[in-house]
């Protein structure tokens, strides 16, 4: 009796190892912030919306969460605990890699731009969600989903600065964006989004800063959500 009992865990772990022994492949997602046709660089690079303006970027940070791969309208792979802080000042953060079953076929990638409302009310969390990452509002609880800061001669603000801290998790200003992109079972996926298009729709002159969850933040977030595209 004693002996059989002692064997039990070993037998169990043997079987579960068998089940887990599958072949995997590495799938990579590479987020590429663009300005028109060029990959966006922070700080020294100067960009133009039109002939007579100039734009420089200091900060670009955003959350990508809830990454899923779909096929035939059903998920085939879901990343557990999926929260990633993307920071343009550290290109490593823009590249994600996933270990998926080698026979997995997918036709669609889904993810969220920002942090869902449940996570927003769950208290202190570590890793990419740690409040020291500069993506948490202090005077009113909630994550900043997307942060873009820089300067432009178009802005009438102090030092010509613009700041977009977009977020908000409660109705009617829930700014979380769900993004679905059709694709063709690629191994290495580049996901681009063009900040030139984004800024063309922004009133840099009169509204160079949106810093709290409100209607403006919601509108800008909706526009941003439409800019993500896969380039094959």
């Amino acid at each position: 009796m004693k002996k059989r009992l002692a064997f039990f865990p070993i037998v169990l772990s043997f079987y579960s190892n068998q089940l887990l022994a599958q072949n995997f492949r590495i799938l990579s997602l590479n987020f590429k912030p663009m300005f028109g046709n060029s990959v966006l660089q922070l700080n020294d690079s100067v960009y133009k919306l039109n002939k007579n303006d100039s734009i420089q970027f200091e900060t670009l940070k955003f959350y990508v969460s809830a990454i899923e791969f779909w096929n035939n309208s059903a998920p085939v792979w879901i990343e557990p605990n999926s929260f990633h802080l993307m920071d343009a000042s550290d290109s490593n953060t823009l590249k994600l890699a996933f270990k998926v079953p080698s026979d997995m076929i997918y036709a669609e990638i889904k993810f969220k731009l920002g942090i869902d409302s449940l996570t927003n009310v769950s208290g202190a969390i570590g890793g990419d969600l740690d409040p020291t990452k500069g993506m948490y509002w202090t005077w009113q609880s909630g994550y900043v989903n997307f942060k873009l800061e820089g300067k432009s001669n178009l802005c009438r603000s102090r030092k010509h600065e613009f700041q977009f801290h977009l977020g908000g998790y409660t109705h009617p200003y829930n700014a979380l964006q769900t993004i679905s992109l059709l694709t063709s079972n690629l191994q290495d996926v580049s996901i681009k989004f063009d900040l030139k298009t984004f800024l063309s729709d922004v009133d840099l002159e009169n509204k160079p800063s949106v810093m709290s969850p409100n209607k403006d933040a919601l509108i800008l977030s909706n526009q941003l959500g439409k800019l993500f595209k896969i380039k094959e």
Partner: protein
């Protein structure tokens, strides 16, 4: 047959230790109280984490020039409200715009701050740390300073098995200390446990309280946790519209969180801006100061009528909510012993 005995001894041990774990005295739900709102499974209390949180609560290292600690505005002998200040005083003596509330029974709170701007106890500390008129710091720099300190290397390691401080661990530890601040040892509580009785006057006050006040200041926590407009005239200088700032919805204009009335004897001055110096002035407000407006609470549409004697009785009931054991509980005070036993920086 030996294994059977071993297993049953084992089982017995597991049962006993599970029993002990919930009865370890770190947090007990007082008799007949509702379940706490705080999710302890995400931040299970331990003695070492509470100790760390307590050290942080009393340490001015959390402020920009190392002069202001949480306890500067929340002192134990006023039930962790701000001593005798209508508007709280922070760094460089800058004055804030609101009165510091008591810090008790926070495990039951659904939201924090007078307008509910903070959604979780863990996130509360971020607000004063980074407020330019309170502690004027940034959480990033606080973490940097803590990581230079031998004392905190030691305390973080004991608490989390990691001597490097992180935002998550800092906030969770401060929460742990605040969660232990349970006040449930007033005369009112001993009456509910049938260990004591109200005097005639107190009992008369209790009946008046149940009639006029308890729809908002609901027992046993003495708050229904809702946001209400209790008819205070707007302070034209502060122009504080309360909950509306958070929801941006005009139906929330002038609504503030219903505060607990436990330890109300010690937490003067009263209201979100500390406009009333004593309980008499508060009752005068409810009897003849109510300002009508679109968002005024329905219960206060009709005037509350209280005679001079009834006011005295009502106040004598409010004083039965005082918990002196809490105010003088050495476990909530400055952690002298903890700090002497540690390596110096």
């Amino acid at each position: 047959m030996n294994w059977r005995r071993n297993v049953s001894v084992c089982l017995l041990f597991i049962c006993v230790s599970a029993f002990v774990a919930s009865k370890d005295g770190l947090f007990n739900i007082p008799l007949n109280w509702p379940k706490p709102n705080y999710n302890f499974s995400k931040n299970p209390l331990t003695k070492d984490k509470i100790d760390l949180g307590r050290a942080l609560f009393y340490d001015p290292i959390l402020s920009q020039n190392n002069t202001i600690s949480c306890s500067s505005c929340h002192s134990q002998f006023t039930s962790f409200a701000h001593v005798d200040h209508a508007l709280s005083h922070g760094i460089y003596d800058r004055i804030g715009t609101r009165n510091a509330p008591v810090l008790i029974n926070l495990a039951w709170n659904k939201t924090f701050m007078w307008d509910g701007a903070i959604n979780h106890l863990d996130m509360q500390a971020l607000a004063p740390i980074s407020h330019p008129d309170e502690m004027g710091e940034s959480i990033e720099h606080v973490i940097y300073k803590l990581n230079q300190s031998k004392i905190y290397h030691h305390l973080f390691f004991k608490a989390f098995g990691d001597s490097i401080a992180s935002g998550e661990h800092l906030l969770k530890a401060i929460s742990q200390f605040m969660l232990t601040l349970v006040s449930a040892n007033s005369k009112y509580d001993s009456i509910k446990q049938k260990k004591s009785v109200l005097t005639l006057k107190e009992n008369n006050g209790y009946q008046l309280f149940k009639k006029n006040c308890s729809s908002c200041h609901t027992e046993p926590l003495f708050t229904n946790q809702k946001f209400e407009n209790n008819g205070l005239p707007v302070d034209l200088e502060l122009k504080d519209f309360g909950r509306m700032k958070v929801t941006q919805n005009p139906i929330d204009s002038l609504k503030f969180k219903v505060p607990t009335l436990r330890n109300i004897e010690f937490s003067y001055p009263y209201m979100h801006d500390g406009r009333f110096k004593n309980l008499n002035a508060v009752l005068d407000h409810y009897v003849r100061g109510i300002v009508k407006s679109k968002t005024l609470a329905l219960q206060l549409e009709q005037p509350i009528v209280l005679s001079a004697n009834e006011k005295v009785d009502l106040i004598s009931f409010l004083l039965t909510l005082s918990d002196k054991k809490f105010l003088f509980n050495p476990e909530f005070g400055y952690p002298k012993n903890l700090l002497i036993s540690l390596p110096k920086d």
